[in-house]
């Protein structure tokens, strides 16, 4: 029998201070039985000789000092895994909520995992065709990448993520992705949207969902992405699956982190987020990847909403510093009825280079998209100039660039939620659009490619 402590000294926010403890280890899990009889899970954040600081996942409301009983379980948070987790829905702490029985575990895994040895990694370089031109051609996703969507409230990031999940494939291989979905603080409706979409495509059979919704305990969110990634690692490295992990919304996750930090009275970093948020997020995002001697892979699509659409806010900022690029959703494009409203210029895929080109996509891929970037950037500048000075002040060349920018948004970026373009279609369309520009301005593409592809 584990010892029970009645020695709660103080309660602050989600935190419990328990006195006269013995032999408690850092990071272990405890259960707290409230006066009402309800039992809640907590995690040890700090251990002193005889005082333990405990964080309660479901908050401390209803707890009191005299009648709350604490029991330490001697282990960290774990996820029971077996192949049967596929097709199942769990809460944010990994407990089934789909009415079906508990998973009979093959093993129980510590949700914090261990750091992957960089020496064991294999550099991701397999092109994933999402069927979306603004991604495939411009900001290419590869298997094992972590590529977040930076969005704003009210923008169609969920549609985009669902479309990626629906359409993503590695060409020439029959292998399909299995989806692991982590919801942190999103609404019931948003979660249903994903569930329905997975159901429609049949992906639900192989999917694993972890749902911490808006009205679920906020602190629980700190565990949810780790639950999901533990499931993903199990499926990828033990069962050879290619796993696509969608995590939404990382902004809510970061808020929970801030809440705990504030309750601990830690010195706040920028905008109140703790100084260790970079490291904390890295222990989530770095769990994407490929391993040399393993078949499976983990590709991550985290979604976050940028407070005030500000890319320099600590949540997108620290994320961008860790992930391998970002897909940025633009409110302006959304207003212009462009779907997906991806702003390709500040978007980036850091792993594009090794995933494209002859044998992977097409020989002209790098050059033609580099030309699109340059032309679109110049076209946008010309448009800005035209706003100040009037269209007439533009040179003929600038006028053609300005027109190009409009067409590029309308015909290239915009494609619709159920349109699945092959990479060849995306590249051909690129050449077609480039015909709008004077040929001598096409400095980034080779003469022979112009002859071959510009029909």
């Amino acid at each position: 029998m584990k010892q029970e402590y009645f020695t709660v000294k103080s309660i602050a926010g989600p935190l419990f201070y328990v006195e006269k403890t013995q032999n408690v280890s850092y990071g272990e899990i405890a259960t707290v039985r409230l006066p009402s009889g309800e039992e809640r899970l907590g995690q040890v954040l700090e251990v002193n000789e005889d005082v333990v600081l405990l964080q309660l996942f479901a908050g401390t409301s209803g707890a009191n000092l005299n009648n709350s009983r604490v029991k330490f379980l001697g282990k960290g948070l774990e996820l029971p895994v077996s192949k049967d987790i596929q097709g199942r829905i769990f809460d944010g702490l990994g407990r089934p909520i789909d009415g079906a029985p508990e998973v009979i575990p093959e093993r129980k895994l510590d949700i914090n995992g261990l750091a992957m040895n960089p020496y064991a990694r294999s550099y991701p370089d397999e092109f994933i065709e999402t069927g979306i031109s603004a991604i495939d051609a411009m900001n290419t996703l590869v298997r094992g990448q972590k590529l977040p969507i930076f969005s704003g409230s009210g923008l169609p990031h969920n549609q985009l993520a669902a479309q990626i999940a629906r359409q993503a494939k590695v060409r020439g291989k029959g292998e399909e992705f299995c989806v692991v979905f982590a919801a942190m603080g999103i609404t019931f409706e948003e979660a249903e949207y994903f569930k329905n979409d997975f159901q429609k495509t049949g992906a639900i059979e192989r999917a694993v969902m972890f749902l911490n919704l808006a009205d679920d305990p906020a602190i629980e969110r700190l565990a949810t992405p780790r639950m999901a990634l533990t499931a993903a690692e199990y499926l990828a490295y033990e069962k050879d699956f290619h796993v696509l992990v969608i995590m939404t919304n990382m902004t809510n996750y970061a808020e929970a982190l801030r809440e705990v930090s504030a309750a601990r009275k830690e010195i706040p970093g920028r905008r109140g987020y703790p100084g260790y948020m970079y490291t904390d997020l890295a222990t989530i995002y770095e769990r994407a990847g490929r391993i040399k001697n393993k078949k499976g892979s983990i590709t991550q699509i985290p979604i976050l909403t940028m407070p005030n659409d500000d890319k320099t806010h600590p949540i997108p900022d620290l994320t961008g510093y860790i992930t391998e690029g970002q897909i940025i959703i633009s409110r302006e494009l959304e207003h212009n009825n462009v779907y997906p409203p991806i702003d390709v210029l500040p978007s980036l895929s850091r792993l594009k280079q090794k995933g494209i080109g002859e044998g992977k996509t097409r020989e002209d891929h790098s050059a033609v998209t580099s030309q699109l970037f340059a032309a679109y950037a110049r076209g946008k500048q010309a448009k800005e100039l035209a706003i100040i000075l009037g269209e007439a002040a533009l040179s003929d060349v600038d006028k053609s660039f300005s027109k190009f920018a409009d067409e590029y948004e309308k015909k290239y970026v915009s494609q619709g939620e159920y349109i699945d373009r092959s990479i060849e279609e995306s590249l051909d369309l690129a050449w077609e659009l480039l015909r709008m520009l004077p040929k001598e301005e096409l400095k980034r593409v080779k003469e022979e490619h112009i002859r071959k592809y510009m029909k």
Binding site: N23, S25, Y26, G27, E28, E46, V47, N48, E49, D50, G76, N112, L114, A115, M116, N117, P118, Y119, A120, R121, S122, Y123, P124, E266, I267, P268, R270, G275, Y276, Y278, T279, A282, T283, E286, G289, I291, T312, D317, L318, G320, Y321, I322, E324, G325, L345, P346, L348, R350, L351, S370, F373, A374, A377, L385, I388, L389, A393, S395, E440, K443
Partner: protein, 597 residues
């Protein structure tokens, strides 16, 4: 006694408190600052960072989950050190010099805790060739022999600091690093055995005779760097910028193409895949100077963002000490640290856990001095023992929150470095790479290396560069006018300035790192490229003054050749002469109104 092997236990205490990567122990009276300790049953590696009465604060280099108060803490008696000797080159280490390939053999794809491994291979035999003989007098830093460590690196075995006397015995042949290759008799008759490796505490800079000002450029093959904002051999530079602006690519380009003898690359708190990239590429890529694979001159330190934060703090020192060691052999060493911000954040996190008084943005008050100390370890020196000159160039990436240059790490770095490569988010989103902003960046080594450049690159190298800079500067003010009143208002001469600036930006400053034909431009070609552009400009301006129309100059076919100059290889240098000739002819043609398409 060894930091990672089984230590001779000198003292042992017990854990009192655990808070993330910092623990407090008691019962370790007499333990020293920076001493290495083994923590708990798992024997996690830690370092003493604070002594306060009976309480000893320890930063632990591994994940501390599962530790309990009361578990044992053993002190080792020695400070955090690295092993220096043959076997360093081509290695990939974690922040405390554990070889990650061996760690993988021991613990699989994921790094488990408490793994004890040596920094150097202890069973490998190296062929030692002596360069002193019995009876020779030697002092610290003198070379007593060498080992051909790789096709590029002759690993010099030096008399360690503190040892001096007469060579009593000297061997030749195959030895492991543990075996003695020489015995030195001191003045007092004491005998000291010399092995091929030594240990050195990472936080202590290695001694040298004296420091000089740098005089030679460190050539990187990156045009915007070498020609516009050069760093000197023995110089220090920083490259701050927001995420995605190109810090890592620049650092990796330097690691690949710089004309240093040895490169130490520290991935400090950044992405795992970036280290994997280097690991996969460097054995394949050829060093342009020796023709050998790049890995044969490279040492990698990888403490990625998901690895323990305390080891991130140590990784900078581990890398710097290894770099200094090769400098001491008389090599030109270049060290890249990506990113120093992660190191500073690790300092901040430790400091917070120690409940120290926070300074700006929560960073400890000693941030400024730590940053200065780090860059001060760079420099051009006369090596200990004399007769050799070595240099250590340091290039640090800085990752300020939101790209904001008022960040304390940036500010403190700018106070000590002499080169600033300022990355610009607008340029990178337009895919102008490297996104080093030409008007905001600077190098304070231009004067130092002036003589070298005039003698070795071209007499007018500096003039050409300065002319190009002034054209770029002028463009900025002209652009202001264009934004207000449109391009028509400019004179032909000004339009020529704008046009040339565009040429400099697009055909010279931009350089595609991933295009094998362009990733590296030797300095000789850089010089000729810019010279031709300036030649075009000068000739065009005179022609305009003599009545040529700007429009006719913009359509000359030689411009296409200028745009392709970056592909001219060393064996086709004559093409630059052809281009210069065509520039003269074609622009001359514009004067008689004929159009020279």
């Amino acid at each position: 006694m060894d930091i990672k092997g089984t230590a001779v236990i000198s003292k042992s205490g017990r854990i009192k408190r655990i808070s993330g990567p910092v623990i407090v122990a008691e019962g370790l009276e007499g333990v020293q600052m920076n001493e290495v300790v083994r923590v708990g049953k798992a024997k996690l590696i830690g370092e003493v960072v604070e002594l306060a009465g009976k309480d000893v604060s320890i930063q632990v280099y591994e994940e501390t989950s599962g530790l309990r108060p009361g578990e044992e803490v053993e002190s080792s008696g020695s400070p955090l050190s690295v092993e220096l000797g043959p076997g360093l080159i081509g290695s990939i280490y974690d922040g405390i010099q554990r070889p990650l390939d061996i760690v993988m053999k021991k613990s699989g794809n994921f790094i488990k805790r408490g793994i004890a491994v040596y920094g150097l291979p202890k069973d490998k035999k190296w062929s030692f060739r002596p360069s002193v003989k019995k009876g020779d007098a030697v002092k610290p830093g003198n070379v007593i022999g060498s080992v051909k460590e790789t096709a590029i690196i002759e690993h010099k075995i030096m008399v360690p600091p503190g040892v001096e006397g007469i060579v009593h015995e000297i061997s030749s042949g195959e030895f492991t690093v543990e075996e003695e290759v020489a015995v030195i008799t001191g003045a007092d008759g004491s005998k000291t055995g010399i092995r091929m490796y030594t240990k050195w505490p990472v936080r202590l800079k290695r001694p040298y005779n004296r420091k000089f000002s740098p005089v030679e450029p460190l050539i990187s093959g990156q045009r915007v760097i070498d020609t516009f904002f050069p760093i000197a051999k023995g110089g220090v530079a920083c490259i701050p910028g927001p995420f995605g602006s190109g810090k890592t690519v620049v650092q990796q380009q330097l690691a690949k193409w710089t004309d240093a003898d040895v490169v130490v690359y520290i991935g400090c708190g950044e992405r795992g895949n970036e280290m994997t990239d280097v690991l996969q590429e460097f054995p394949e890529l050829e060093d342009p100077y020796s023709g050998e694979p790049l890995i044969k001159r490279t040492v990698l330190i990888a403490n990625t963002s998901n690895m323990p934060v305390a080891a991130r703090e140590a990784s900078i020192y581990t890398g710097t000490t290894i770099a200094e060691y090769f400098r001491d052999m008389g090599y030109k060493v270049a060290l890249m640290a990506d990113s120093t911000s992660r190191w500073a954040e690790a300092l901040r996190e430790m400091s917070g856990r120690l409940e120290e008084m926070p300074g700006e943005e929560g960073y400890p008050a000693y941030l400024a001095s730590r940053v200065a100390e780090f860059y001060e370890r760079g420099g051009r020196v006369e090596c200990l023992g004399g007769g050799r000159e070595g240099s250590l160039s340091i290039i640090g990436a800085v990752s300020p929150p939101g790209g904001d240059l008022s960040d304390p790490v940036v500010k403190n770095t700018l106070r000590v470095v002499k080169v600033f490569w300022g990355l610009d988010d607008d340029l990178s989103s337009q895919r102008h790479f490297p996104a080093i902003h030409w008007l905001r960046s600077y190098s304070l080594y231009l004067d130092n290396i002036n003589d070298y450049c005039a003698a070795n690159i071209g007499k007018d190298f500096t003039d050409i560069r300065n002319t190009a800079m002034s054209i770029l500067q002028k463009e900025e003010s002209l652009q202001e006018i264009v934004r207000l009143v449109g391009e028509e208002s400019l004179s032909d001469r000004d339009r020529q300035v704008m046009d040339t600036a565009k040429m400099i930006r697009e055909d010279f400053l931009q350089q595609h790192a991933f295009d094998p034909d362009e990733t590296y431009t030797p300095i000789g070609q850089q010089y000729r490229m810019l010279k031709s552009i300036i030649n075009f400009y000068d000739t065009a301006v005179s022609a305009i003054e003599e009545g040529s129309r700007f429009e006719n100059i913009t359509i000359l076919s030689v411009r296409e050749k200028i745009a392709r100059m970056k592909y001219i290889t060393k064996d086709r240098m004559g093409e630059f002469d052809d281009i210069d000739r065509e520039i003269k002819q074609q622009i001359k043609g514009t004067k008689d109104g004929s159009d020279n398409r």
